[in-house]
């Protein structure tokens, strides 16, 4: 620990020296940044085999002959993956190519069973399109980031190091799972914009059901190209470096800033930036050399002879387009206006795939604000606790509508409503009414009964009563309300219970006086 600490301090000191040597003020430099996002498609099966795409199942269980590169096995393109890729292209306002084709990209690695990756280098399925960043994305300005291309490709297997001292373990479950690589033009200026771009892409692809886009589990991976240029010079006059494996938003932010600083320092000293691939050491806050241009592998791209050219008809594209949900922007504006909700609330709903439709269905019969607040606090809380996505939860819109309806007409208390929610999320299938009846729940609306209970409680706790009445301890009120709710097993409405306790205490004060 101490050792690590010392390294870190040293590294910072070194960086400080580098900055002090800059001849040209760093403000005179700008960066040109492009991003390559690798996004795992949310398809049931792999890109070229019918093995399940659930790569986190038991290791090496979702493996077909072609995924293991067995002799004589042939790939077979999965139309579901093509449709999801086309969805992404259309969501980005790009053009789905009528003809696209697959290539082989060769390199030897234990997580590459075929010795090559099947990808689309020359003729990708999508070209063009853009992502518009603005105030809604945390920027003070607007920035349009153009998309160069979107290509379908295979994921690799997973190499697992360090479990066995002598071997690297390989899990083929992920081998051949479908990815799309989304390559942007170098239209991004700063680390902040790069992060905003990734965030927005996540939201868009989740919203359209293309991908889970979870950076932690690796369903979204990010490489960033950075070059710097003197203000006023040609934007692409600098030499670019590729930053690999930036797998969190924080890493993107840190790596891009560190790399800009490194390149500015180099150029400022009159040194050339070498074209290379670099990694990011988050604890040192520095990028480091992974391989130079000379060491770059020759991938020997070749047209994939086992997969014919992919031809897509206009009709098919139209069908994919008609299945696309409205864009997050449009949905945000519409829902905020239609239901009178705050932008932040709608953004939270949009962040969970499928949630907006869920919300709208529930809100048909209930107050929109009540629905929104229940979804964002109670439902999301339960989902987080269960590490579940909404789509995976058994909870239906009808069930939540039933709970909130019961709540609104005082048929259940908030505590009971919460219990119902938990039951439904556990897979309960009976109706709200049936559950209320089964639990014997009913809101106690008989005030006399509550008053009697309150008096008994006050008698049982004279010290607390004195505290409230004599010493003026307001918190004693909540103590009695809690006790009363407990005594009724939550079947009293909290507001009513509170009023009754207060009345009972006040009555005693009168008696004292």
């Amino acid at each position: 620990m101490h050792f690590l600490g010392r390294i870190r301090v040293g590294a910072l000191a070194q960086r400080g020296r580098a900055f002090s040597q800059i001849a040209v003020p760093a403000q005179e430099y700008r960066a040109a940044i492009g991003l390559e996002l690798h996004v795992q498609l949310q398809a049931r099966e792999k890109l070229f085999s019918a093995a399940s795409a659930n790569w986190d199942d038991k290791p090496n269980t979702n493996v077909w002959a072609v995924d293991a590169g067995l002799p004589g096995a042939l790939p077979r393109l999965n139309p579901e993956c093509v449709a999801l890729a086309a969805r992404a292209v259309l969501a980005l306002d790009g053009q789905v190519q009528r003809r696209s084709a697959f290539d082989r990209k060769h390199y030897f690695y234990a997580d590459q069973p075929l010795g090559y990756q099947i990808t689309q280098q020359q003729h990708p399925i999508g070209r063009g399109g853009f992502l518009e960043l603005g105030p809604g994305d945390g920027l003070a300005h607007t920035r349009r980031v153009r998309i160069r291309q979107l290509q379908l490709e295979q994921d690799t297997a997973k190499s697992i190091h360090g479990v066995d001292p002598e071997y690297v373990l390989v899990d083929l479950n992920r081998a051949g799972v479908a990815l799309v690589e989304i390559v942007s033009e170098p239209d991004v200026d700063t680390a902040g914009e790069a992060v905003a771009y990734v965030r927005k892409m996540q939201a868009l692809l989740r919203h359209t059901g293309v991908s889970k886009c979870n950076m932690e589990e690796g369903s979204l991976r990010c490489d960033v190209n950075v070059s710097v240029y003197r203000a006023g010079a040609d934007r692409l006059s600098g030499t670019r470096c590729e930053l690999k494996n930036l797998n969190s938003l924080r890493a993107i932010q840190g790596a891009v800033n560190a790399e800009i600083a490194r390149q500015v320092a180099l150029v400022g000293r009159g040194e050339a930036v070498a074209q290379e691939t670099r990694g990011y050491n988050a604890s040192a806050g520095e990028t480091f050399l992974m391989r130079s241009k000379e060491a770059a592998p020759d991938y020997r791209y070749m047209p994939e002879p086992d997969v014919p050219e992919l031809r897509i008809s206009d009709d098919w594209i139209a069908r994919v387009r008609s299945g696309l949900p409205e864009t997050p922007e449009a949905a945000l504006a519409r829902v905020a206006a239609q239901y009178g909700l705050a932008r932040e609330t709608v953004l939270t709903l949009l962040g969970e795939p499928g949630c907006l439709a869920f919300f709208e269905e529930v809100a048909r019969g209930c107050s929109a604000r009540l629905v929104a607040s229940w979804i964002t606090s109670e439902v999301f809380g339960q989902l987080a606790y269960r590490a579940q996505r909404l789509a995976e939860s058994p909870l239906t819109a009808g069930q939540l509508a039933g709970i909130l309806d019961a709540l609104q007409r005082d048929a259940v208390t908030p505590a009971q409503a919460k219990q119902l929610l938990i039951a439904f999320m556990d897979g309960e299938t009976r109706t709200v009414d049936a559950l209320v009846a089964a639990h014997g729940w009913e809101v106690i609306s008989d005030d006399a009964q509550l008053r009697r209970l309150a008096d008994q409680l006050l008698d049982a706790h004279p010290k607390e009563v004195a505290g409230y009445l004599v010493k003026g301890q307001a918190r004693r009120l909540n103590f009695f309300v809690g006790k009363l709710m407990q005594a009724t097993k939550g079947q009293a409405k909290p507001q009513v219970a509170s009023q009754i306790v207060k009345d009972a205490l006040d009555a005693r004060r009168d008696r004292l006086a």
């Binding site: 002959a65 293991a68 590169g69 067995l70 002799p71 004589g72 096995a73 042939l74 790939p75 077979r76 393109l77 082989r104 060769h106 030897f108 690695y109 234990a110 069973p113 075929l114 010795g115 090559y116 190091h161 002598e166 071997y167 690297v168 390989v170 083929l172 020759d298 020997r300 070749m302 002879p305 086992d306 997969v307 014919p308």
Partner: protein
């Protein structure tokens, strides 16, 4: 050599004595293998008697009921090794059978043996492989040295020629079925690319590979072919039902009423082209005589024989080797010893780092793959490299297209892949173009068996000059026996337009009789 001339007599009462006939035929075949294989080395592994004659999956009598059939060692079966005659796959047992093998068994055939071959199909004399050279059952007049059966399907050709089985499957990437057929005096048919599924055929050059048939008669070859020539959605390059229908419609359009050919002049109305470019310096006098005699025979059968030109033929061989080797270097990249196959036992450090992993791969591939395979992989890797691609791979792709266009220019039948939709034919009754072309299969008869290492490599590649064009264009071609010289068989070759397999078989049948 009377045994060589043994023919498989058709069983007239197949339906009645099916089980018995199959068992007897299998018994006869396995006896022949036990007796003659030591001399021929045609069979790599024979099946156990009880497994071979077990009733197949077909419930009713199939067209191949009772046929003992052998398959090349690069075609997957669930029994025995699918070794490709390579150390790398010496003990490799496939979990699935090739679609072609499944089709044969469904048709009633009994697969009795896996045959010897050049390692991964790379060779034309059946000398490169772990089983050692196979031998030609024919001996030159006056005895003397053993002759090569040709390659790479040398074991299949020798087995059929020696009567070890009724038919055998081979694979043809650049002539590997037709050349050994010619040298062993049997029929060798390479169907149109995509007629027969490649699933389970271990890939050499995926865009050129075809499962082919070796048999003693054209009718036998046709029967086996028809059992296999069915669509297979598991191979994306296998012709779809729609494409098969389109070809049938084009054939009916081009040759209306051709199915009713007269008995005395059975091929009347057909035109046969004799390509000038096949008249090469290396052609022996005997091969030239056989070619002339074949043309005369077709004329006597009613064909009009005309000279045609295929101007790009001289570029076909270098283009073929460039493309085949490029694809081979890619297809064989998977034999890294990680998931299956042999792995070097050398005590290289554990592959914890890529650099060390590369050493392990190098040792595994260096030991597992033979010299000729390594040579071809290295050449293929070179022609695909970034620096060389421009000079070798891409021009070769263009030449391939030109070779195919040469054929389109001489054949009357339009190419179903490239023809505009159903171009109306001139209705004056005079068709332009030829129906098939006739050319030698090899420049000479089988050479004497050399010892490995004495091979003149360039000369051995030249053996393929007559055959590779059909693979480049994906068109069907068939070798038929055409007499002997000094005791050794000669072959003639017919080729037809893409998809015109049935016509080709019909002409070949009459040419052979």
């Amino acid at each position: 050599m009377p045994r060589i001339l043994l023919r498989w007599a058709p069983c007239r009462h197949a339906a009645r004595c099916r089980g018995l006939a199959t068992a007897a035929a299998v018994e006869r075949s396995l006896d022949a293998i036990a007796r003659d294989n030591a001399r021929l080395n045609a069979v790599a592994s024979a099946r156990a008697r009880e497994d071979a004659s077990a009733p197949g999956p077909s419930g009713s009598a199939g067209p191949l009921e009772g046929w003992p059939v052998a398959v090349k060692a690069n075609i997957a079966t669930t029994w025995g090794a699918t070794s490709c005659a390579s150390r790398a796959l010496e003990d490799y047992r496939s979990p699935f059978a090739a679609t072609a093998v499944e089709a044969l068994e469904r048709a009633g055939a009994a697969v009795v043996a896996k045959t010897n071959m050049d390692e991964f199909g790379m060779g034309s004399k059946n000398t490169f492989g772990i089983y050692g050279p196979a031998h030609n059952p024919h001996r030159a007049a006056g005895g003397g040295d053993l002759h090569s059966p040709g390659g790479s399907s040398g074991g299949s050709a020798a087995a059929v020629a020696a009567g070890l089985c009724r038919a055998a499957l081979g694979s043809d990437t650049g002539g590997s079925v037709r050349l050994p057929a010619a040298w062993c005096g049997v029929v060798g048919f390479k169907p149109t690319y995509g007629r027969v599924s490649r699933r389970g055929l271990v890939a050499y050059g995926s865009s050129l590979d075809a499962v082919g048939v070796l048999a003693q008669t054209v009718d036998d070859a046709g029967a086996v072919y028809r059992a296999m020539a069915v669509p297979d959605p598991r191979d994306m390059t296998c012709m779809s039902p729609a494409l098969r229908r389109r070809i049938a419609a084009l054939v009916a359009d081009t040759r209306p009423g051709m199915e009713h050919l007269g008995a005395d002049r059975p091929l009347a109305g057909l035109r046969i082209g004799v390509p000038r470019e096949a008249w090469v310096d290396e052609l022996s006098a005997a091969a030239l005589d056989a070619w002339r005699a074949g043309a005369a025979r077709l004329a006597a059968l009613g064909c009009e024989v005309v000279a045609v030109s295929l101007p790009h033929t001289r570029h076909a061989l270098p283009a073929y080797y460039t493309l085949a080797l490029a694809e081979a270097s890619s297809n064989l990249a998977r034999y890294d010893g990680v998931r299956y196959g042999s792995r070097s036992a050398s005590r290289a450090p554990p592959p914890a780092r890529p650099a060390n992993a590369s050493l392990k791969y190098a040792a595994t591939r260096g030991e597992g793959l033979g010299a000729e395979v390594q040579r071809r992989i290295l050449l293929g890797t070179y022609v695909m490299s970034e620096a060389a691609c421009r000079h070798f791979y891409r021009p070769s792709q263009r030449i391939r297209r030109l070779v195919q266009q040469d054929f389109d220019a001489v054949f009357a039948l339009p190419n179903a892949l490239h023809a505009p939709d159903m171009a109306p034919q001139p209705s004056d009754g005079r068709r332009a173009g030829v129906d098939a072309i006739l050319l030698p299969t090899a420049t000479d008869t089988a050479p004497r068996q050399g010892r490995a290492g004495e091979e003149d490599l360039v000369a051995s590649y030249v053996n393929d000059v007559m055959t590779v064009s059909a693979n480049l264009a994906g068109i069907p071609a068939i070798a038929v026996p055409a007499g002997r010289t000094s005791g050794m068989p000669l072959g003639l070759q017919l080729a037809a337009q893409y998809g015109d397999d049935d016509l080709l078989l019909q002409i070949a049948r009459h040419l052979h009789q």
